[in-house]
Subunit: 354 residues, 2 copies
């Protein structure tokens, strides 16, 4: 690896400040490893609406496609909520435009933050370390949708659909990832009610034939939402569709108690990936210099791992983040016996530590 080109989408709210820290850390890692880091910047979300009228300008798509990976801060805010061209459309649009069909959402409990989980210690048991693999460019998010009038009555509808090819590729992603973890995949669907889920389940079972070393079980989505609360330690990799994945990955994150700490990767066919923290743009604290940059920094670690296969460098960042938890904290996770750091201080500490 001699050079990497990253397209940076700082986005809205706290996006710019947390991304700046993550870039500091990335630069430090690249310097240490002799990698030439090239950055490009583009607009997404509310700021793109403000400056260009659309949440996802074509230029942004072009710049992302011309890069090895995309680093995103966060998008959205009440300011744009009333508009038809909302920041979320930018998010959905870029996933689709870049073909990022696999959303990886790790939810784990950091030992130093164990007390932050809303679950009892007895429920957490051996700990939570779940990887939700959510299909991201299909399902009801991208099916036909519209309004129609029947017998004078207005009807709104959205079609949830999956093709075997779509299920196959996400199932493969899940099985491959499980091989690097605890060799267990739980496929979540609603096959007792939905046709799309029956196709999903059949296809996952078929793909599984090539992954006999991985244990596969199936769970209905209502049960999965209960099991996450009842016994999260039973899960390793969860694979599911776009809508169910949206709900369950957020539930799993909350269970970890460390929502300000969780990163995500959205991957496609090649090595191009989009990396972002799972938390929102938090407009209420934007610009105050108190936002927690750790989830964005951990997104950079995922980027190094999944787009660039730089395991060692990814590990170094993750280690630095764990270290930081015993050294100083941003206000959102502050602890009585540790100093409080502002966003910048945290970035500086991590850049120095990696």
């Amino acid at each position: 690896m001699e050079r990497m080109k990253i397209c940076v989408l700082k986005g809205d709210g706290i996006g710019p400040e947390i991304v700046d820290q993550a870039l500091k850390v990335l630069k430090a890692v690249c310097d240490a490893s002799g990698i030439k880091l090239e950055l490009d910047f583009a607009l997404l979300g509310g700021i793109a609406i403000d400056q260009t009228g659309e949440p996802l300008p074509q230029q942004t798509i072009d710049k992302c496609k011309a890069s090895d990976a995309v680093l995103l801060g966060a998008v959205g805010g009440e300011k744009w909520d009333h508009l038809p061209a909302r920041p979320e459309k930018g998010l959905l649009g870029i996933r689709s435009a870049l073909g990022l069909y696999a959303n990886l959402r790790p939810a784990k409990i950091f030992p130093a933050l164990k007390t932050a989980s809303p679950l009892k210690d007895s429920v957490i048991g051996e700990g939570v370390d779940i990887l939700v693999v959510r299909e991201l460019t299909g399902g009801i998010y991208f099916g036909e949708h519209n309004r129609k009038t029947e017998n004078g009555m207005e009807i709104g509808y959205d079609v949830m659909q999956y093709s075997t090819a779509e299920v196959e590729r996400i199932a493969k992603t899940a099985f491959e990832l499980a091989r690097k973890r605890n060799h267990k995949v739980t496929s979540v669907d609603k096959a007792n009610v939905l046709e799309v889920s029956r196709l999903w389940r059949e296809t996952v079972i078929r793909v599984h034939e090539e992954y006999r070393d991985v244990e596969l079980n199936h769970m209905y989505v209502d049960n999965a939402s209960m099991q996450l609360v009842r016994n999260p330690a039973q899960f390793d990799v969860i694979v599911t569709g776009n809508m169910f994945g949206d709900i369950l990955s957020d539930e799993a994150s909350m269970i970890s108690g460390s929502i300000g700490m969780l990163a995500s990767a959205s991957l496609g066919v090649g090595s191009l990936g989009l990396y972002e923290p799972i938390h929102g743009s938090a407009p209420d604290i934007a610009g105050k210099g108190i936002a927690n940059p750790l989830a964005t920094v951990l997104s950079v670690a995922m980027m190094l791992r999944y787009t660039f296969s730089l395991e060692k460098e990814a590990d170094a960042i993750e280690k630095a983040v764990e270290l930081s938890l015993n050294h100083a904290r941003t206000p959102d996770i502050k602890s009585e016996d540790l100093p409080v750091y502002c966003t910048e201080q945290m970035g500086d500490f991590l850049a120095k530590t990696v």
Copy 2:
């Protein structure tokens, strides 16, 4: 009230044994209040498949329609899971045939069982007392669904749809119920992505104009699944569609830690309602006489309240159940300092106590 006619669907697994106890309690209440209780029995689920070939025979529909209310045990079991005519189809079919569009799913923590919640005491805070109002005869459960082939590729699809009329009536139900509780409704949708959710939200807002005394807020389903774990005390009534309601009502139940204790009501236009425990048919313990009948008994309380407006009688049953928790327990919720009762003993105790 001089007589009531109940259609009893014992169903599969532990269904028969728990329903028998609930009927004991109902008889005791009717005797005490001078109400003539007429019972009719019909088949639903696996047992109906075994005896008639279909999960929901026409006769069952007829008998239910000819009754004031329906009491259901539980349906399903692995034995029938491979069949195309599965027990669940009976459940969906009867909801639809009887027009039971409003599913009321209370999730609360019983003081005597507080320690059973998987959530920390600090998270539970003032306690959990949520009523999920789930739309039950529309949405993706009943939309068009099929398989098709496009470019040689198989596709499965289901249509999630709602008409304004469907949303209006369930919204009204939710607002009316909130008036008898804490005057707060949270409407859950995914309006930032789904067209059906935008129609849902607009309609709920319009219906709300006639319920200004009730506080209304809107929440995306992914956020709702987090908030239930983060701070369940913020919720009073949650109103949502069939699919989201399936997921969130189960999550809310699990949070209460008392899944063997929770009842449900499914209501339609008139006073006819179907009442059932939320737990499953538990084939593994069927016939052993150890099943917990409390959720079914509490379903009878809901029946007295919602179909017959017999508040006093409903209260008496609920009080008897709370009393039982300090008197004896079935094995599933056993407590060191209380005797263990079998299913029958619990029924006898409650029938004597009401």
